[in-house]
C-alpha cells in the first residue's frame, strides 16, 4: 500500500543526522573548503552516530539488524545538506564495508567488518573512477588478470578518496574486458601492497576538503582470495547502483540546502522596493528548484525501496543518479544566479555548492547505502 511516511526508526535517523549536520557539519563547511581539510573532531563525532556500524550485524561486531538502502538515503540526504566533502569523508568507508557485507565471502566479512565497528573512525578507500574523459564504469581500463593464486592489477585510477589515509582500498578492475558491467570485479587491496602508487593529492574544482588521490597500479599482485566474493566474484552493477543511490541522496541534500538559502535570500533581499522573491523571474526559479529537489528525492526513495524489497533497481538507481546530477547543477546554478554578485563571492556558500554540484556527473562509487 503506497505510503510516503517514514518509519519511526527512519524519522529518528533523519532527525539525528539532520541536527548533527546543522550543529556540527554546516558551520565547518566554508572553513573546510578554504583549508582543503575536514575537521577531524566532526568526523569523530559523526562516527559516533553509528551510521555504518548500525548496518553491520552483531556477528561481525556491529550493532545493526540489517542494512536498509532507504534508511541509508534518508541519512545521506541530511549529511549532504551539511557538507558534501565532510559527508563523503565520513562515509568513504561505507563503500568497502557495505560491499564486503553484501557480497564478501564469510572470511572477508570476518576479517574486515569489525574494522568498521570500533569507536574510532577508520578510513577505507575505493578506487573506481579513471582519469579519462569518457570514463564509464562498464568499461574499465584497469584490468585484473589471474596468474596462479594471484591477480595482477594494472591501471590508473583517480578521485580515490582518502587513499593516503586508508589501510585498504576496494579496487575495481575488469577481469573480463569487453563484458561490460559483468566483466568487472572488486579486489580488497592493502594500500601498502607493492605496485600500488598513491600520487600527490588531487586538486579538484569542488569537494575541496575531501582528500582524493590518483592511484597507479603497476603489476600489483594480490592473492586470489582478495577478490570480493572469492571465486564467484561480485555483482558489480549492484554495488555501483547502491553507490548511485547514496550519491543521488547526497545531491538531494546539498541542493535542498541551496534551495533553502535561495528562498531565504529572496524573501530578505530588497530591490526596487520589494523582496526580489516578489518578482516572478526569481519566484519561478525557486518554485522549479523546489519541485526538482522533491522529484529527485522521490526517484531516489523509490529506487532505494526497490533495493530493500530485493526488486531489480539498477535502472532506477542509474536514472535517479543521472537525474540528481542534472538537478543539482540546475539548482545550485540558480542559487548563484539568484544572489547575483553576492552569489559569486566566497563569503556566501552558493558558489561552493555550485562547484560541488558539477561533481555528481563524475562521481561514482564514492559512498554507498
Amino acid at each position: 500500500m503506497v505510503s510516503f511516511e517514514l518509519s519511526d526508526e527512519q524519522k529518528m535517523v533523519q532527525e539525528t543526522v539532520a541536527s548533527f549536520a546543522a550543529d556540527q557539519i554546516e558551520p565547518m563547511m566554508r572553513e573546510s573548503d578554504e583549508t582543503n581539510s575536514v575537521p577531524e573532531d566532526v568526523i569523530a563525532k559523526g562516527w559516533e552516530l553509528g551510521l555504518l556500524g548500525g548496518c553491520i550485524p552483531e556477528e561481525y561486531e556491529g550493532f545493526g539488524e540489517e542494512a536498509s538502502a532507504l534508511t541509508g538515503v534518508i541519512a545521506m540526504e541530511e549529511l549532504g545538506w551539511g557538507d558534501l566533502s565532510i559527508a563523503l569523508h565520513l562515509m568513504a568507508p561505507s563503500v568497502m564495508a557495505l560491499s564486503v557485507l553484501d557480497q564478501g565471502t564469510e572470511e572477508q566479512k570476518k576479517q574486515l567488518l569489525p574494522h568498521f565497528c570500533g569507536e574510532e573512525y577508520k578510513a577505507a578507500s575505493c578506487a573506481l573512477v579513471e582519469p579519462f574523459y569518457n570514463f564509464c564504469a562498464s568499461s574499465l581500463r584497469t584490468t585484473a588478470v589471474r596468474d596462479g593464486e594471484e591477480y595482477v592489477i594494472n591501471g590508473k585510477k583517480c578521485l580515490v578518496p582518502l587513499a593516503q589515509e586508508s589501510e585498504n582500498m576496494l579496487v575495481f578492475a575488469a577481469t573480463s574486458p569487453g563484458m561490460g558491467f559483468s566483466g568487472v570485479d572488486a579486489f580488497i587491496v592493502p594500500t601498502a601492497t607493492k605496485g600500488v602508487a598513491v600520487g600527490e593529492r588531487e586538486k579538484n574544482m569542488g569537494i575541496k576538503a575531501l582528500a582524493t588521490y590518483p592511484v597507479v597500479f603497476q603489476d600489483c599482485r594480490v592473492p586470489a582470495a582478495s577478490r570480493l566474493g572469492g571465486d564467484q566474484g561480485c555483482d558489480f552493477l549492484r554495488l555501483l547502483s547502491r553507490s548511485r543511490l547514496a550519491l543521488a541522496a547526497l545531491a538531494v541534500g546539498m541542493s535542498r540546502h541551496a534551495l533553502e538559502h535561495s528562498r531565504d535570500y529572496a524573501t530578505q533581499r530588497v530591490a526596487f522596493g520589494e523582496p526580489i522573491g516578489s518578482r516572478q523571474a526569481i519566484a519561478f526559479m525557486i518554485a522549479e528548484m523546489a519541485i526538482e529537489v522533491d522529484a529527485t528525492r522521490l526517484l531516489t526513495w523509490e529506487a532505494a525501496w526497490r533495493c530493500d524489497k530485493n526488486m531489480d533497481f539498477y535502472k532506477e538507481a542509474a536514472l535517479a543518479k543521472n537525474y540528481a546530477a542534472d538537478m543539482a547543477m540546475m539548482v545550485c546554478d540558480r542559487g548563484v544566479q539568484i544572489m547575483g554578485g553576492h552569489g559569486y563571492v566566497r563569503d556566501n556558500p552558493v558558489e561552493l555548492w555550485f562547484r560541488n554540484a558539477r561533481g555528481f556527473a563524475t562521481f561514482e562509487g564514492m559512498a554507498m547505502v
Partner: protein
C-alpha cells in the same frame, strides 16, 4: 513506512482499466480525433452502465459507502483511505488509452467536484445522485470568461438575489463537457459569478445551474488543437434565474481566506490538480511506451547505467523522458496520498501538476521528433498525443499558475506579496 507498491485492490483496478483502455479506447482514438464533435455514444453509455459511480469516484466524488462514512463528522485522522490514489491510478490508465474520449466520459466532472467539496449534505444528495443512474450524465464547471482566465478575481458574470432566486448574467467560455451536461444529458454546470464586484475574489461564488434552465444558452462549441472528442463550450447567461438554494457555500461576502467555505472551494483544486497531473502522465506513458516498443522492434538497445557521456543522444533523451515521467508520477502519488491521509497538500498538488504538465508536453513533443516521419504522420497516434497532452499544461491552472502557487508557499508570500 515508505512504500511504492499499490494495494492489490488498486492493482486489480489498474489492470482492468488498462485492458479496457487498450481494447475499447485505442482502436477508436483516431476516429474521434478526426471527427470532432462526434461522440462514441454507445461506448459512453456502456461506461456509465459498467462503471456507474466508479469512474465518477475517480473524477472527484466518492462511492456512496465512503461518502456516508465521511459525513459522520469526518475526524482528521483515521484509517488510511486510498480514494484519491485509486483515482489517480485509474485516470492514468484511461488517459493512456485516449485523453479525448476519457475527458468525455460521463460523470460529475469538475462541477461535481465543487459540489462535493463545498455543498451541504442536501445539495450533494440533490445534485450528485443522478450520476449513479443508468443513463450517462455529465457535470461541468464554468469559471473562465473571455477576459478572465486564471485571474478569477476579474470574473464579470453577476449573480443578483431577487426574492427566492439568483439572477445570473454574463458569458462563460472553455466549459469542458458543457454541451454534454446541458444538452446531451440531464446534468448541470457550476457557474462562478460575483455577488459583489467591489469585493473582488471574496464576492465570487459558485452556483449550480441545471440543464434546461431558461436564460442559459450554449453559444459556441470550440474547435481545438487536441482532446477533440471532449466538448468545450461557451455559455451565455441572460437573466438566468436559479433557485436561491443553488449557491454552494455561504452567500456572505466576507474575507474568504479566513472562512471554512473558501478553504473547501480551494480544496477542490487540491484534489483535481493531481488528477490532471495523472491525465498528463497517462498520455506521456502512452508516447514513451510506443517509442520504446518501436525501438525494441528495430533492435535498438537502451544501455541503462552507462555513463551519460557515452550515451547516444537517443538514449539520453529517452532516459530523461523516463525519469521525468516517473518523477511526475511520484509527485502525483505523494499529493493524492496526502489528501487521502487528511494532510494539507495544496503545495504538493501544484508541484505535481507543474511537473507533469510540462514534462509530458515535452515528452510527447520529443517522441514525435524522435520518430521522425512516423511521429508526424496521422497514421499513428503520436502526433495526436502531442496535441492532446498540451492541454494538461493549461487547464486546471496553467503551468505558470502552478509555479506561482508553489513559489508563494515556498517563500511564505501572500497573493499580494507575490503577484
Amino acid at each position: 513506512m515508505i512504500d511504492f507498491e499499490l494495494s492489490p485492490r488498486i492493482k486489480g483496478t489498474k489492470n482492468m482499466i488498462h485492458m479496457f483502455a487498450e481494447n475499447a479506447l485505442r482502436p477508436i482514438a483516431r476516429q474521434y480525433d478526426e471527427n470532432e464533435h462526434e461522440k462514441p455514444t454507445e461506448l459512453l453509455a456502456m461506461v456509465q452502465k459498467v462503471m456507474g459511480g466508479g469512474v465518477a469516484g475517480a473524477f472527484g466524488t466518492e462511492s456512496k459507502e465512503k461518502k456516508d462514512k465521511k459525513e459522520e463528522g469526518e475526524p482528521a485522522k483515521k484509517k488510511p483511505r486510498e480514494t484519491n490514489l485509486a483515482g489517480a491510478v485509474t485516470i492514468e490508465e484511461i488517459f493512456w488509452g485516449d485523453a479525448g474520449i476519457a475527458l468525455s466520459f460521463p460523470g460529475p466532472g469538475l462541477g461535481g467536484a465543487a459540489v462535493q467539496a463545498s455543498g451541504t449534505p442536501e445539495q450533494k444528495e440533490k445534485f450528485l445522485a443522478r450520476f449513479s443512474g443508468e443513463k450517462p450524465v455529465w457535470g461541468a464547471m464554468a469559471i473562465t470568461e473571455p477576459e478572465a482566465g486564471s485571474d478569477t478575481a476579474n470574473i464579470k458574470t453577476t449573480a443578483v438575489l431577487d426574492g427566492d432566486e439568483w439572477v445570473l448574467n454574463g458569458e462563460k467560455i472553455f466549459v469542458t463537457s458543457g454541451k454534454s451536461a446541458l444538452e446531451d444529458s440531464e446534468g448541470f454546470v457550476v457557474v462562478w459569478a460575483t455577488v459583489d464586484r467591489k469585493a473582488g475574489r471574496a464576492g465570487i461564488k459558485p452556483f449550480v445551474v441545471e440543464h434546461g434552465t431558461p436564460g442559459m444558452e450554449i453559444t459556441k462549441v470550440e474547435d481545438k488543437l487536441g482532446i477533440r472528442c471532449s466538448d468545450t463550450v461557451s455559455i451565455s447567461f441572460m437573466d438566468c434565474r436559479i433557485p436561491k438554494e443553488n449557491i454552494l457555500g455561504s452567500p456572505e461576502v466576507v474575507d474568504k481566506t479566513k472562512t471554512e467555505g473558501f478553504k473547501k472551494v480551494m480544496a477542490t483544486f487540491d484534489a483535481t490538480r493531481p488528477l490532471v497531473a495523472a491525465m498528463a502522465i497517462g498520455v506521456g506513458t502512452a508516447a514513451l511506451d510506443f517509442l520504446k516498443e518501436t525501438l525494441a522492434e528495430e533492435g535498438v538497445e537502451l544501455r541503462y547505467g552507462i555513463n551519460p557521456c557515452r550515451m547516444t543522444a537517443l538514449e539520453r533523451d529517452i532516459m530523461q523522458m523516463e525519469a521525468d515521467l516517473k518523477a511526475a508520477r511520484l509527485l502525483t502519488w505523494r499529493a493524492v496520498w496526502m489528501l487521502d491521509n487528511g494532510l494539507r497538500n495544496d503545495l504538493q498538488a501544484s508541484m505535481a501538476k507543474a511537473k507533469a504538465g510540462l514534462a509530458v508536453t515535452r515528452i510527447t513533443q520529443k517522441a514525435v521528433e524522435l520518430m521522425g516521419p512516423l511521429g508526424y504522420s496521422r497514421e499513428l497516434l503520436l502526433e495526436k498525443w502531442m496535441r492532446d497532452s498540451k492541454i494538461n499544461d493549461i487547464f486546471e491552472g496553467t503551468g505558470q499558475i502552478q509555479l506561482l502557487v508553489t513559489a508563494r508557499r515556498i517563500l511564505g508570500f501572500s497573493r499580494e506579496q507575490l503577484k
